[in-house]
Amino acid sequence: MRFLVYLFACCCSLSTLAWERKGLTISGSIQSDMLVPQHDSGTGAKKTGDFLNNTYFDLMLQSKYIDAGTRFEFLEYPLPGFEKDFEGWGVPNLWLKGKLGKVELTAGSFYEQFGSGFILRTYEERSLGIDNSLFGGRVVVKPMKGVTLKALSGVQRRYWNWNESLISGADAEVGIEEFIPSLQKSGTNVMLGGSWVNKYEKSDEKIYVSPVYRLRIPKFVNAWDVRLNFSRGPWSVLGEYAQKSDDPSYANEYIYRKGSAAMISGSYSGKGLSVLLQAKRSENMSFKSTNDVSKAIGISSAINHLPAFTQDQTYALAALYPYATQLADGEWAYQAELGYNFKKKTPLGGRYGMNVKANLSYVRAIDRQFHEGDDLVAKTNGYTSKFFKWGDQTYYRSFDLTLTRKLSKAFKLSLMYVNQQYNQLVVEGHGGTVHTNIYIADGKYQFSPKVTLRGELQYLTTKQDQGDWAYGLLELSLAPHWMFTVSDMWNSGETNLHYYQGLVTYNVGQHRIQAGYGRTRAGYNCSGGVCRYVPASRGFTLSYNYNF
């Protein structure tokens, strides 16, 4: 309770603080998610404390030449499912940025991504408990139009500590069209990029492959990346290749083998039609900033990130079996997406038009032929792999079809069908292959400019895992302030459990408060192919967001 009063007092004082004067801007945000947990014998949810909450307070000062920022985090009694080291509170992020003409210098905490993130991506994803920011220095130089050069060095944040390894890197991107006038005239953009990242770690970790043989772990791990992006009018093509030097780790079972990632992505977007085609092959690309096994397990300490090439589902049942990128084992991943807008007043478009979207994702194991026998040295080579050959296992396959159509001036309907094949063993470490068919209807009726009612009906059928699921949701919006939501997710296939939830949301100005009560199921919460296991919970929830 004392915490709530303190939070409210902070907000009141901050609302008077947001100002802009003499070229200095102060801005920031507060996010606080709270849970009063209850024991639930049905779901196995545990009462892990009296009051749990994750609170973040960001503050940023901006001026013409200097920016500065900091973040206060209170995670001493965190929401369920985060790793134990996540607990704590303090000011983990602090930074100062100087902007001097073509040069930008940052000291302190910073986030960075080179290319698609194959060799470096530091980011914050609060729902997963990820903040792998670097603490050190970065310089960004734009010596001429179309050229961006970056260099950085720092240690990586792991919850309330920094890992001991030093991460350094450089990146260059050149817009070729700036140097070839004919390309510019034809509206063609060609971007050539290259990056390098180095990890230096003098590890004390002693890893034995047998009781009498210890591994010599490299102190340096290097990774590089090249990419070419071509775009003209509605067309765009990106090709990227990255490689990482020998990096024996817990994730790859201590093999001395180069890692690699290759991707090609093409898209078209114009005149109501959008097409995306992507293919990616990766192997042995788990790249962590620590050799300490206990710290490297889980989702922390990642230096890089490989996108999942699968649809990030937002509907509850479609998101029940989400895919997580297999960085260490590698994968062949393909994705095709097609979107088309049928125009108004056409036979298929009807009076208000219709949007059709289809997505096909397929993720397959790569070929890996492991060295057999008892030769310990041969075993450290790991395996051989033919580049284009698939492995035996399908990791994930999904086909989605979504139709969105306005049926009357007040009523809009979306219908979605999803067919999934999910390798639960590979993603979660247990179970087998789960095949699902999911049917979703989402309707929105606008009674008046201020009153809208939205409803969802979803059904998932499967013969595996926990069998069938049904889901229903009703959401009443009373603009501009109120929203009332009730939902229930019912496992009709095995447990007969209901995961009910009721939420009231109030928006005023830059403030958003949401209070509710409900049950959540145990499962995986994923974002961009990175997943966190969240145990079942039940209780009262309160969320507060404020931007100033």
Binding site: E83, K84, A170, W196, N198, Y200, E205, K206, I207, Y208, V209, S210, P211, V212, Y213, R214, L215, R216, P218, K219, F220, V221, N222, S245, D246, Y250, Y254, Y256, V293, S294, I297, G298, L376, V377, T380, N381, L425, V426, G429, H430, G432
Partner: protein
């Protein structure tokens, strides 16, 4: 201008070359002599029949036992989320005490182990930890007998103080070897013929043992009994006794039940 960029690029290449750390095949392994045992080391392996990586940890234990023989006492504690309680068709090895231990040590994943009750560590780190513990002299030695009569196991533990004073708890457990039942394997397959060894069955003198103290030159003896359960194979039983305190396990012993 160009000169400056050339210097910059050359410096970058030099830096890149300096940071290369290729380890040739013949340099990857470093031989280290097995550690002469100053004491018997206890390895608590928190395992589960639904844990696909757990057979890899068991392989590490087998290798360590081959090298260190009786100087290493391993116990497979089936507890935590991946342990299996069993059903009408499949024998489960999970115990409530195993769950209690798993939760007590704040474990987050499996397989994970405690070597002489130090920090929880993963199986690639066990060999190093076992070596380190073996090198430490023990303040006492443990021995004993365990015999079955009329469906009761009588355990007699004898401790000798060898160095200073040791204070803490004496814990006595019952283990069973050679249990053939389900284990999920690293490739995801379900192996119904898997042989589980050194499986924790029960804590004979309470979940956390009993108070214990011994001085140098002193002999302390304890006797306790345990009723035999019908599911246990009397031919495959053994008793593990160990003394532990806040500094970890001080000494351990494994005694075959006869």
């Amino acid at each position: 201008m160009f000169k400056r960029y050339t210097y910059l690029i050359i410096s970058g290449i030099c830096l890149l070359l300096a940071s290369c750390d290729h380890i040739a095949e013949f340099e990857r392994l470093i031989y280290e002599k097995p550690e002469p045992a100053q004491r018997i080391v206890l390895l608590e392996d928190f395992t589960g029949q639904r844990c696909t990586n757990c057979p890899k940890a068991t392989e590490v234990i087998e290798q360590l036992q081959e090298t260190y023989d009786e100087a290493l006492v391993a116990v497979g504690i089936h507890g935590g989320p991946l342990a299996f309680a069993g059903n009408a068709r499949v024998v489960g090895l999970k115990t409530d005490i195993g769950d209690e231990y798993y939760n007590h040590w704040n474990l987050e994943y499996q397989p994970v182990g405690l070597v002489n009750r130090r920090t929880p560590i993963n199986y690639p780190e066990w060999a190093a930890a076992v070596k380190e513990e073996l090198a430490k002299p023990a303040p006492l030695s443990l021995d004993g007998t365990a015999t079955i009569e009329d469906n009761t196991i009588t355990i007699h533990i004898k401790a000798y103080g060898t160095d200073g004073t040791a204070q803490g708890k004496l814990q006595v457990w019952l283990l069973e070897d050679g249990i053939k039942t389900l284990q999920l394997m690293p490739d995801g397959s379900a192996n119904q013929e898997y042989i589980h060894n050194h499986v924790f069955r029960t804590a004979i003198n309470g979940t956390w043992g009993e108070d214990f103290s011994i001085k140098e030159g002193e002999t302390v003896e304890r006797t306790m009994t345990q009723a035999l359960e019908s599911v246990w194979n009397r031919e495959q039983l053994s008793v593990v006794a160990f003394v532990y305190n806040n500094q970890g396990v001080q000494q351990a012993a494994k005694i075959k039940v006869k």
